[in-house]
């Protein structure tokens, strides 16, 4: 052990780089890599990190706050309101059910009722960090399972406020907030009577919404106008820190506040800017958090009573899983979605550290109980990703939606194989049209509900993540002629394209791009067949407008074709242009700059004057002129 901060940083970074790349190579989630890195560098294996693990854990919990802010950014207020039933319903059933079962379990084990109650609260909460990170990494946020997990986690974030409020009431001795061992700083809520507490909560939520619209957005505009990149990073961090501070001051969960802040800013023009700025911070902090969890596993405690800990660990995971499975069942999830939900949320979450140490400080828990629960929490966090992986690799392929199903040979033995990645709105249209020509594309799809439906319709469908080369291989990429990528996530698209281009260069790639910026990236990767989803539809609309105004349809049709050709040429030319650093600081700005360039090009090109086909007027003028001269 060494006190040098530099040395610690080196240990964490090196541990992360080595373990996460190994985990990724093995096809495991990065969370597992970080956790194992933590165990490895922790006090019981290599011993690089000592008792300070707990402090790092507290610091790194900020990663969860940043993550929820980012998730908030992706949810528009309107959609959030739509989710209220699932949040309350699924979340309520999960928390109540888990608390009830675990309370009974710990009572049965002979713990005092207060202790059992506190522990059951901790057990009921799952790890937002682990679950959401894994879900996002696999791009499953849009599936039923993804949104169910998210709803439950969000409910837990809300309910934890009440738990923190209730724990002091269970305190044995002096009662209230005074009994702390080293005193959690007193927050505003504790000093207020109950009615005012509710009022304070509502007020702070309103404050976030108002500040988001009338303070943060104007501030971001000013910052963006300065054109200094790091100021925007500072501003983004300031927003998250500010909201967290406000929330902690009032006594609410900073993660919940950050989430609300994100939702408020989801409609602003800075959405993408904030996302790309905070993303690296979130990832590093979460990585640190997972490593700290790994490092905090106390192997001495485990060694003292391995059977008890093993038993309780197993019982907790089982009972959490059971409740989740039942919750999924009540809300009519399909079997494989239920299983995914069951295993992704079966761990005890990071809030447990907060709840348990709070209760410990209030003398509700004793040292042994505290140690045991901390170890079990960290262990559940380590084991659930492993169970989740086993579920995906071993159980799911057999149950519910299988990764692939065998089809008669004559279907597979088509001489020209087409692979279609993604069967959403875009991909389904592509697939339907191909099929209407007797071309059966092999489909790769992430949503199991859709997979089942497609299989029922007789499609050959592989279920899973298209960035997994083994899945692509079993779908037959080696003998494929064309791979169509029709998914809407540009990052996944790029990853798939890169993977196929390097490993199977003979496969022709035909790629859906959302806009010019996607197209630039893909063009610079050397991909030729790029289909911008916004191009033809918008031109069709513009064409119809002009037609309604009296322009001739056939001429408009030809002009649309001309425009597309010209736009593609401009796109290719501008993609090659070296990027001027100063102009490319902000993406929002960059977009405006681009619009300006295109409009200028349009201006140079002029209105459709150059088209002289079938124009008798030009011939007439020339003829009349020559006659005059004669």
């Amino acid at each position: 052990m060494t006190g040098s901060i530099l040395f610690q940083a080196i240990v964490f970074l090196a541990g992360a780089i080595i373990c996460v790349s190994i985990a990724k190579r093995l096809g495991l989630s990065s969370v597992l890599g970080y956790l194992l890195a933590g165990v490895l560098i922790g006090p019981y294996v290599l011993g690089y990190i000592g008792e300070d693990g707990q402090d790092i854990l507290h610091f790194a919990e900020f990663g969860v706050v940043v993550m929820l802010f980012l998730i908030g950014l992706e949810i528009e207020p309107k959609n959030f309101w739509k989710m209220r039933k699932t949040i309350l319903g699924m979340g309520g059933i999960q928390v109540a059910g888990t608390m009830l079962l675990s309370y009974a379990l710990f009572l049965f084990m002979g713990f005092e009722w207060k202790v059992s109650l506190v522990i059951s609260m901790a057990v009921a909460l799952s790890s937002t960090a682990i679950a959401l990170q894994t879900i996002k990494e696999k791009g499953l946020m849009d599936t039923t399972f993804g949104s169910s997990s998210f709803s439950i986690l969000l409910f837990q974030d809300i309910i934890v406020i009440f738990m923190l409020g209730a724990i002091p009431l269970l305190s044995n001795a002096e009662g209230g907030t005074t009994g702390g061992n080293h005193g959690e700083h007193a927050n505003l809520l504790d000093t207020l009577p109950l009615g005012f507490q509710t009022l304070a909560i509502i007020l702070s939520v309103v404050l976030i919404i108002v500040a988001g619209n009338y303070l943060i957005v104007p501030m971001l505009r000013k910052v963006a106008n300065t054109g200094v990149r790091e100021l925007l990073i500072a501003a983004a961090l300031l927003i998250v820190f500010g909201i967290s501070y406000l929330m902690e001051y009032v006594g609410l969960s900073p993660a919940l506040g950050a989430f609300l802040g994100g939702v408020v800013l989801a409609n602003s023009e800075f959405k993408h800017e904030l996302e790309s700025t905070l993303e690296p911070f979130k990832n590093l902090l979460l990585g640190l958090f997972f490593m700290a969890v790994g490092a905090s596993i106390n192997f001495v405690v485990i060694a003292k009573s391995p059977l008890t800990i093993g038993g309780v660990l197993l019982a907790i995971i089982l009972l959490k899983a059971l409740v989740l499975f039942i919750t999924g069942h009540i809300f009519k999830l399909k079997l494989d979605q239920k299983l995914l939900l069951t295993f992704s949320l079966a761990q005890i979450g990071e809030f447990a550290f907060v709840l348990l140490s709070f209760a410990f400080n209030l003398n509700i828990l004793n040292n042994d109980q505290m140690d045991m629960m901390l170890v079990i929490t960290a262990l559940t966090m380590t084991f659930t990703p492993i169970i989740g992986m086993l579920n995906e690799r071993l159980i799911l392929p057999r149950l519910g939606t299988k990764e692939s199903i065998q089809r008669p040979m004559d279907h597979i033995a088509k001489s020209q194989k087409i692979i279609l990645v993604g069967f959403g709105h875009f991909g389904s249209t592509v697939g339907r049209f191909l099929r209407s020509h007797g071309v059966e594309a092999t489909i790769l799809e992430q949503d199991s509900n859709r997979v089942d439906f497609l299989r029922k319709m007789g499609f050959e469908v592989y279920y899973g993540d298209a960035t997994r080369i083994d899945l692509l291989e079993s779908a037959g990429i080696a003998e494929a002629k064309i791979l169509i990528c029709a998914i809407d996530n540009p990052d996944v698209t790029r990853e798939v394209a890169k993977l196929v281009k390097t490993k199977y260069p003979h496969v022709e790639l035909m790629i859906r791009a959302q806009n010019r910026f996607d197209a630039y990236g893909l063009l610079n990767m050397g991909i030729e067949n790029i289909y911008r989803e916004s191009l033809e539809t918008s031109l069709t609309l513009a064409k119809d407008v002009l037609s309604k105004m009296g322009f001739r349809k056939y001429t408009l049709n030809r002009q649309v074709k001309n425009f597309i050709k010209y736009d593609e040429e401009t796109l290719r030319r501008l993609a090659k242009e070296p990027k001027d650093e100063k102009n490319y600081i902000f993406k929002a700005r960059q977009e405006l700059e681009q619009q300006e360039k295109y409009l200028n090009e349009d201006f140079k090109r002029g209105i459709v004057e150059y088209d002289k086909h079938w124009d008798s007027e030009a011939i007439r003028k020339t003829l009349l002129k020559t006659e005059d001269n004669m």
Partner: protein
């Protein structure tokens, strides 16, 4: 009263001075269906059943188009290829167009005297229209000589309006059921005595 179908095809109607005037004088006459092919089928995807139904409802079919490279614009040809189906328009069971009347209304930049063996275009307009004549014959239709507005580049607006009046008068005659016998010896319908009384 005979019903008249004008199958109009011009790829750039908006910049045709001559056709703007001609069309303007006939398109709203009662009993005349003005069918603008390039506007209806800008992507060349012709609705064959609809076109057949339209033909069924009319007695006189006019192929109205500019004369480009001695023929009709491509959509007009596409229309013929698609609509005039075997065993509908021609063939042993193809009686749908039997005894309908059919002719071309054309506009041409070159004047009439260029279309003869001594002129730059070598052949007469009637000779260039032979494919249409034979098409009509195969479908059992009565083919009339064309109504032609020639030398459009040199025509003044007043002269164009003159032609347009002739066109609408012609349509009036056809509606009344004037037959081919009256047109004997006329190369163009423009020449028939009924249109040249004054």
């Amino acid at each position: 009263m005979k019903k008249i179908l004008v199958l109009f095809s011009h790829p750039k109607f908006e910049s045709s001075r001559a056709n703007a005037v001609l069309v303007d004088h006939i398109k709203d006459i009662e009993g005349v269906t003005f069918h603008d092919l390039y506007e209806r089928y800008p992507d060349f995807h012709i609705d064959v059943p609809a076109e057949k139904a339209l033909l069924d409802q009319h007695d006189v079919i006019i192929w109205h188009h500019p004369l480009y490279w001695y023929s009709c614009p491509p959509l007009m040809k596409q229309w013929m290829d698609m609509v005039l189906e075997f065993n509908w328009a021609y063939g042993p069971k193809g009686k749908a167009l039997q005894s309908k009347i059919c002719f071309n209304t054309i506009t041409a930049g070159g004047s009439r005297d260029l279309y003869c063996s001594a002129g730059t275009n070598t052949f007469s307009v009637n000779e260039f229209l032979r494919p249409f004549e034979q098409t009509a014959k195969l479908c059992g239709m009565t083919f009339y000589p064309p109504f032609a507005v020639m030398g459009t580049h040199q025509l003044t607006n007043d002269e164009l309006i003159q032609h347009a009046h002739q066109y609408s008068s012609l349509i009036d005659l056809l509606q009344q059921g004037v037959t081919v016998g009256d047109f004997k010896g006329c190369a163009f319908l423009n020449d028939i005595p009924q249109l040249n009384t004054n």
